[in-house]
């Protein structure tokens, strides 16, 4: 992973890293591009009963069963519509493949460390624990999500935590 990271950033400032920017409602978020496996449309999701509503279900990704979660529901955003623009970012975290539904993907950005500001103490829905910081680029503000921390957190109920069984 680290060698890949350095290879990808040699063109830019050595310390900068690349982020995939996506939109949820009016806001712009970004995740480390190295965690992203692919981007695909939202289709054919099989619902799973008795799970939190932000877990939309599972889908078939070339023979692999992958859970799909809707971050808009998780972040309590008002506008949750599924349309042609709705895409799924398939990420690879903690040796798992997870799809996250977003309103759209805009671009890939390189951010240098001085463009990344520490995340302020946040509200309830999105704890600053899950953030890498805030990226500021001209007049745009990107919320840099630590997708690995977010998805592996107990609250997401994506991974069976042994404590639940004891």
């Amino acid at each position: 992973m680290t060698t890949q990271a350095s290879a990808a950033t040699t063109v830019n400032d050595a310390a900068s890293s690349e982020y995939l920017v996506f939109s949820l409602g009016e806001e712009e978020y970004a995740v480390d591009i190295l965690k992203v496996q692919e981007i695909r449309g939202y289709e054919n999701v099989t619902r799973i009963a008795n799970v939190p509503d932000f877990i939309k279900g599972v889908t078939n990704l070339r023979g692999v069963i992958v859970p799909i979660i809707d971050l808009r529901l998780k972040f309590n955003l008002a506008k949750v519509e599924y349309g042609g623009q709705t895409v799924v970012i398939v990420v690879n975290v903690a040796e798992r493949i997870v799809g996250i539904v977003v309103d759209g993907v805009s671009d890939v950005m390189s951010l240098t460390p001085d463009q990344i500001k520490p995340a302020p103490e946040f509200g309830v829905t999105l704890s600053s624990d899950y953030l890498n910081g805030i990226g500021s680029l001209d007049d745009r503000m990107l919320v840099l999500v630590d997708i690995e921390k977010l998805l592996t957190h107990n609250e997401m109920q994506l991974i069976e935590h042994t404590a639940e069984h004891a």
Binding site: N44, T46, A49, I97
Partner: protein, 703 residues
């Protein structure tokens, strides 16, 4: 190539040889041993010793060396077998296994155990043979496990009593030949060697039998490439080079190999054996044809890592899904204008199914793999418990998926121990009850539909109903005296349950039966117990044949499709309103032929929208899970199909009521239902609904 690359091959081979050795030792008739069997046991020990020497596993080599010496005397009829001698051999075999494991894990074997077993074997050699030489043979090897110089000078010492052999290699290249000649020098003296790659003739003077020489050489070349003949006239004069120098220097690879010491005989034995060497060799010569086909069989198998096989199985699964997707598309086409395509699709379907079947069969292993470890266990345990037990195995060739076969060993071992300890009585008690003093323990395996049935049957005392009930009461379990036998038997699967009056080191600690049950449930199977007082107990394990592919019944509920494992489905029917009974709360029962089955409403359990809510409009599928029956209410039955089981936990987690997922022909995911878990989920949800209702009522009417 480094020699350590061959370690794994050696470990696996040695393990097989040890297993063979154990099997042969157990089958051995102590009073009238079969000479072929004795030879086979000897050969196994010898091969391990040879390999251990080559790889420098000194402790292993020396232990086998001692064992081999004793075995050698045994097969010559100099040592009369007794049961306790066979026991010692078996113990040594276990020790060898431990040593092998230690080497495999990169450790040094336990030195104390090594010394102890050496002493035991030496002692036996001393007592049984009553000859000074036997000790002499053993002592140089035992006390110092470090170097092994004794074998190096075995060649010259063998001269006096040796025979001459003409060894011909057919089609062996220079490099291998160098190795072979070097190997031969450990057996005796190479007197002459000449020839080319096509045929190369070596004259060897050696005290070793040609059988043994062949066994060692076959590590390097195929048996067909080797011809060994005795030369009757000892006066044959060397043709060309007499020295062995050029041969050993010729090969490049041979230099890395440590001298496979002690591949030949240690000096002591060869001298001790001298008077009897002649007849023994002839005997061994006879056994040669028997040894040959066995070696030929080795090359007809191939070792493949399991994950490679699994990958193929996964890919074939994908292929099947793609094929059914195509089939769905093709079925909409006009058969007249697209005739060749439709024909091609049919062909593809057949080929794909055949391919799938063949690939699945790779993972299948015979139950013999499991059963073969029990004769030893039963023998040892029966002796320990002072019981007389005859073990019968049936259906050894029944095949089962490898992953299941490995996981069934522990539960089955536990059941067998239980039967021996608690089930079968002592010979006196049996005689008093008018039964044969020898108890009978049967292990059987057979196919039944898509399941495999494994039974552990004993003709012992049977389960004691009163004792179990009393124990259950003292353990605080909810029991009544009127419970049915089946329910009482199920109690012994409760955690911490044991009716044994005495805790022995065999069983009775009360850990186990619950673990047995859990293990089997994890494999997708269940356990049943049948017992008759005084007649015996049968424990029956029912397992699915494989975990990778499932015969499923697809059903519809609302707009969603689910898969029911076909082996859980008993029948389906349209329920009549008069057959439905309500119980306290909103639990419902369905009466089917005088049986009242709890109703599980799928759309309630899984919150399916748009499903048929009226019970009489739905279809009741009678299903069974964990030995109990339920009526599952669904909207519609779609049909039967084979599905490839996909794990949900790989990327997600366990979902209540669902065992796994699969991919349907259209590429969408369908969930496979887990009946027993679905029932638990349904109960939980109806309880929740109940509490909500009560809370609501309490709020409305403040008392």
């Amino acid at each position: 190539m480094d020699i350590s690359d061959f370690y794994d091959t050696f470990f696996e081979e040695a393990e097989e040889l040890l297993a063979d050795m154990e099997r042969l030792l157990l089958d051995l008739d102590v009073d009238d041993p079969d000479i072929e069997d004795l030879n086979a046991i000897f050969r196994a020990a010898h091969s391990i010793k040879g390999g251990a020497g080559t790889f420098g596993f000194t402790v292993l080599q020396e232990t086998t060396h001692l064992l081999e010496n004793l075995l050698d005397h045994t097969r010559r009829g100099e040592l009369n077998l007794r049961r306790d001698i066979v026991d010692t051999f078996l113990e040594t075999k276990d020790m060898l296994h431990d040593q092998l494991d230690a080497y495999r894990n990169g450790n040094e074997p336990d030195a104390d155990a090594f010394e102890r077993i050496c002493r035991v074997l030496q002692q036996m050699a001393l007592e049984e043979l009553g000859q000074g030489q036997a000790v002499e043979a053993a002592t140089p090897a035992a006390p110092e496990p470090e170097p092994e110089p004794e074998a190096v000078d075995s060649a010259p010492s063998a001269e006096s009593n040796s025979q001459r052999l003409a060894i011909t290699f057919v089609g062996v290249g220079d490099k291998d030949r160098g190795l072979l000649v070097e190997e031969l020098q450990h057996f005796g003296q190479v007197i002459a060697q000449a020839g080319d790659n096509e045929r190369y003739r070596i004259e060897l003077e050696s005290a070793e039998s040609r059988d043994d020489i062949e066994a060692v050489l076959c590590f390097i070349i195929e048996p067909e490439q080797l011809v060994i003949e005795p030369i009757s006239a000892p006066a044959v004069i060397a043709e060309t080079t007499t020295s062995s120098e050029p041969a050993s220097s010729g090969s490049g690879g041979a230099g890395d190999v440590p001298p496979p010491a002690a591949t030949g005989t240690a000096p002591g034995t060869s001298q001790a054996d001298s008077p009897k060497a002649e007849p023994a060799t002839r005997e061994k010569g006879k056994s040669k044809p028997a040894a040959k086909p066995a070696k030929g069989a080795e090359s007809s198998t191939i070792r493949v890592p399991v994950d490679k096989v699994d990958q193929i199985i996964n890919l074939v699964g994908e292929l099947i899904i793609t094929q059914s997707m195509l089939e769905q598309t093709a079925s909409d086409m006009d058969i007249v204008s697209h005739g060749p395509l439709v024909n091609g699709m049919n062909l593809l379907q057949r080929n794909a199914r055949d391919l799938q079947e063949s690939v699945m069969s790779i993972r299948m292993m015979p139950m013999d793999y499991v059963f073969s470890r029990f004769p030893r266990l039963v023998r040892d345990l029966a002796a320990k418990l002072g019981k007389d037990v005859e073990l019968v195995t049936e259906g050894k060739s029944t095949e089962l998926d490898k992953s299941l076969i490995e996981r069934i060993i522990d539960p089955l071992t536990h059941l067998v121990r239980n039967s021996l300890d608690h089930g079968l009585e002592s010979p006196e008690k049996r005689q008093a009850a008018g039964k044969s003093p020898t108890g009978r323990l049967t292990l059987s395996a057979q196919h039944q539909g898509g399941n495999i049935l494994i039974e552990v049957i004993d003709d012992g005392a049977g389960l004691n109903r009163e004792k179990i009930l009393a124990k259950a009461k003292s353990n605080g379990l909810a029991v009544t005296d009127t419970m049915s036998d089946d329910d009482v038997w199920q109690l012994i699967f409760a955690p911490g349950f044991s009716t044994a009056e005495q805790v022995s080191d065999v069983s009775g600690r009360g850990v186990g039966m619950d673990v047995v049950k859990r293990n089997i449930q994890e494999m997708g199977g269940h356990v049943e117990i049948l017992s008759q007082p005084g007649q015996g107990t049968t424990t029956r394990i029912v397992l699915p044949l494989t975990l990778a592919i499932l015969d499923g019944m697809s059903i519809r509920c609302g707009g969603e499709t689910f898969i029911l494992p076909l082996n859980a489905v008993l029948e389906s029917l349209q329920p009549q309103i008069e057959d439905i009974y309500s119980m306290a709360g909103d639990d419902q029962l369905l009466k089917v032929r005088d049986e009242y089955l709890p109703i599980i409403t799928l759309h309630q359990a899984l919150d399916v929208a748009g499903a048929k809510t009226e019970v009489t409009e739905a279809i009741a599928v009678i299903v069974q899970g964990e030995g109990r029956r339920y009526a599952l209410m669904v909207d519609d039955l779609i049909g039967q199909q084979q599905v490839v089981v996909k794990n949900l936990e790989t990327n997600y987690r366990k979902v209540p009521g669902i065992s796994a997922a699969t991919i349907l022909g259209d590429g969408s995911v369908a969930l496979i239902l887990d009946i027993a878990d679905l029932h638990r989920l349904d109960r939980r949800k109806s309880q929740q609904r109940h509490e909500e209702k009560r809370n609501y009522l309490q709020e409305v009417s403040p008392a």
